[in-house]
């Protein structure tokens, strides 16, 4: 595809996305779902870099999400500062937390890494629910409405452009990350640590850097979520957010740019518009996560590819056999 055409298509679909909730009816429920989808997708993208690119499972990303929300609540109610300043505070807090956690877990791999990150998440719940500085079990209330350059985002319809902008920035960051040296180094460390070391890549440094890239993304979702809800409490650390993130990351397929967004959208649409009650929704979400990992390791994209492959084989069986060398030539001609 021509680069100019490609750019035009991307800009076109980005503009279309902005008006999507309006086109779908523009009711408060639709705007509310759209805002939550954007926020939770950003939250999931943070985890996506760790799971899909680095190949580790961090179970502490709910903590970064909560750090963003709590930092925003504390800064906006305590110091009365605006969204840009609270975003800066959120990013600093997330970097600090990720740095500490990253250094402690630097040498831990696979399940020990996940075990420690899970323990961090569980302990964070007890700390958030008991520490009066964080409002204890009541949480923190009275977060002012989102107001930036005179634009006051009272209500989900007004907040939607902000959430959408955050989502677009995140998508751009993810795309740049995967093309950057760090992104390539992460994949190499993930798939072939020895080769990575031989190529002069320090696996531990790479891990730490990816961690530092990932945490602020998830935290910035918490930042906007605090404004959306106007209060924060320890329920931000519930397993729900962790399961939602993990499901979104694996449901569509690893390292698919729009994967986490589509995954979050599917889950949220089910919960907001086709809900069977809280408990059954839990069972559905958990089951989706189990079934995808156990039976569809490539996600829905992998399933689609497998089906296409199967279809191609069936067609080939019916067609006359082409000699091997001409076949390669054909594919070469058909290729880009």
């Amino acid at each position: 595809m021509q680069p100019a055409l490609r750019l035009g298509l991307i800009i076109g679909s980005a503009v279309l996305g902005l008006f999507l909730p309006f086109l779908l009816g523009g009711t408060p429920a639709i705007y509310s779902a759209a805002v939550l989808i954007a926020i939770f997708a950003v939250m999931a993208y943070g985890l996506d870099t760790i799971v899909s690119d680095l190949g580790e499972v961090s179970l502490a990303h709910t903590v970064f999400f909560a750090i963003g929300a709590y930092a925003t609540a504390l800064l906006s109610t305590g110091l009365g500062i605006g969204p840009l300043a609270t975003l800066a505070g959120t990013i600093v807090a997330a970097l600090l937390a990720a740095g500490v956690l990253g250094l402690v877990t630097l040498r831990l791999r696979e399940f020990v890494f996940s075990l420690v990150t899970y323990a961090v998440a569980v302990v964070a719940i007890t700390v958030a629910a008991n520490w009066s500085f964080l409002g204890g079990s009541d949480g923190l209330r009275g977060i002012p409405a989102f107001e930036l350059f005179g634009y006051e985002a009272q209500g989900d319809a007004r907040l939607w452009p902000v959430a959408y902008a955050l989502l677009l920035v995140t998508l751009y960051l993810m795309r740049s990350f995967r093309r950057s040296r760090l992104g390539l180094a992460a994949i190499m460390v993930h798939l072939n640590p020895r080769l990575a070391t031989m190529s002069g890549i320090d696996p531990q440094k790479t891990r730490l850097q990816v961690f530092l890239f990932s945490a602020p993304i998830t935290a910035s979702a918490g930042w906007l979520y605090a404004y959306q809800r106007a209060y924060v409490s320890a329920d931000l650390l519930e397993t729900y957010f962790l399961i939602l993130m993990l499901t979104a990351v694996v449901l569509i397929g690893r390292r698919v740019l729009l994967g986490p967004l589509i995954g979050v959208a599917i889950v949220q649409i089910q919960e907001k518009f086709f809900s069977f009650g809280g408990y059954v929704d839990k069972i559905i979400l958990g089951s989706v996560l189990i079934l995808v990992l156990a039976y569809l390791p490539g996600g829905l994209v992998g399933l689609f590819q497998a089906l296409r492959e199967a279809g191609r084989r069936v067609r080939e069986r019916d067609e006359p056999v082409i000699p091997a060398h001409t076949q390669t030539e054909c594919t070469r001609k058909a290729g880009p």
Binding site: G55, E56, V57, L59, V104, R107, L108, E110, F111, V112, S114, L115, V116, Y118, A119, V120, V122, V123, I125, T126, V127, N130, T239, L242, I243, L246, V250, G278, Y279, V280, D281, K282, I283, L285, G286, S287, L289, I290, L293, A294, P297
Partner: protein, 288 residues
């Protein structure tokens, strides 16, 4: 504060912790598997016991095996679903799948048992014992006895019997075990069923000490992590001693510092162990 009373509390807690963690210890030591749904399986074991006693009117001694059977069923189903992942030794996916199972169990328990807290009363937990100025219940005594018996039996089975040898061989080298004619799948299914039974037994014994909620299980997971890591992964004797140490630590920390932060303190112990003794993870699979 009465020091001796805290010592008694610590001993009881310690045996409770060891019992809660033993399923994971075997899972990890014998089969190199993990289960992040452990806490929710504990919760379910407690609720099945409670339901059998207070709703079905079964005697406590019958309710315990009923809960264990439920645990076996859940453990079997879990392993059945993720058998391919286990055979591929895809630990990352296994972790997430077990986390998902925990979430499903949480939802299912809420659906069946509701979200209100319950008290699991057993014939043993209602009888107090006063000994000097010390206080405990018969349930506490039962926890200690059951834990010691269970650990002794398990150590015997793993070290001295054919079942133990088979399981250890599978842990050491699944491919070689397969070559030797061992049905590896059966061993994995059996180990997971054992994990289910063990955690349900722990729940039936320990849960009467506190009110039970369908949202509980997280503290038990932290306890399990600490015991498994502290004890040297997969070591049965190590787990027993680690459970005891953690129990005493928790009892004194709760009395001297703050009961609200005992889980956080246990986690601090976990981190300290990891930083000071990273070699604990190097324990060979199947080692005791």
């Amino acid at each position: 504060m009465n020091l001796t009373q805290q010592l008694v509390n610590g001993l009881v807690l310690g045996h409770a912790y060891a019992l809660i963690a033993i399923g994971w210890t075997v899972l990890l030591g014998v089969a190199r598997l993990v289960n992040f749904g452990h806490g929710q399986m504990y919760m379910l074991g407690a609720f099945v016991t409670w339901y059998s006693v207070s709703r079905l009117g079964l005697p406590y001694v019958v309710a315990v095996p009923v809960a264990m059977l439920a645990g076996v069923a859940i453990g079997y189903v879990m392993q059945r679903v993720m058998l391919q992942l286990t055979l591929r030794q895809d630990l990352v996916s296994i972790m997430i799948v077990t986390l998902g199972f925990g979430y499903v169990l949480h939802g299912a328990a809420g659906l069946v048992f509701g979200s209100t807290g319950q008290i699991l009363e057993t014939p043993l937990s209602v009888i107090d014992i006063y000994w000097g100025d010390l206080w405990f219940t018969w349930q506490d005594v039962a926890i200690i006895i059951v834990a010691i018996l269970f650990f002794a039996l398990l150590k015997f089975v793993i070290e001295r019997t054919g079942i133990g040898r088979t399981a250890r061989m599978v842990a050491e080298d699944p491919a070689l075990a397969l070559l030797a004619g061992i049905d590896v799948k059966k061993v994995y299914l059996g180990v997971f069923a054992f994990e289910g039974a063990a955690v349900a037994l722990a729940a039936a014994m320990v849960a009467p000490r506190t009110p039970i909620l369908t949202s509980m299980g997280f503290d038990e997971v932290i306890v399990t992590f600490v015991v498994v890591v502290l004890g040297g992964i997969g070591s049965i004797t190590g787990s027993y001693l680690a459970g005891l140490a953690l129990g005493l630590f928790t009892a004194f920390f709760g009395a001297l510092v703050s009961p609200a932060y005992t889980t956080a303190a246990a986690f601090a112990v976990l981190i300290a162990v990891l930083v000071l003794r990273p070699g604990g993870f190097a324990a060979a699979p199947g080692s005791r």
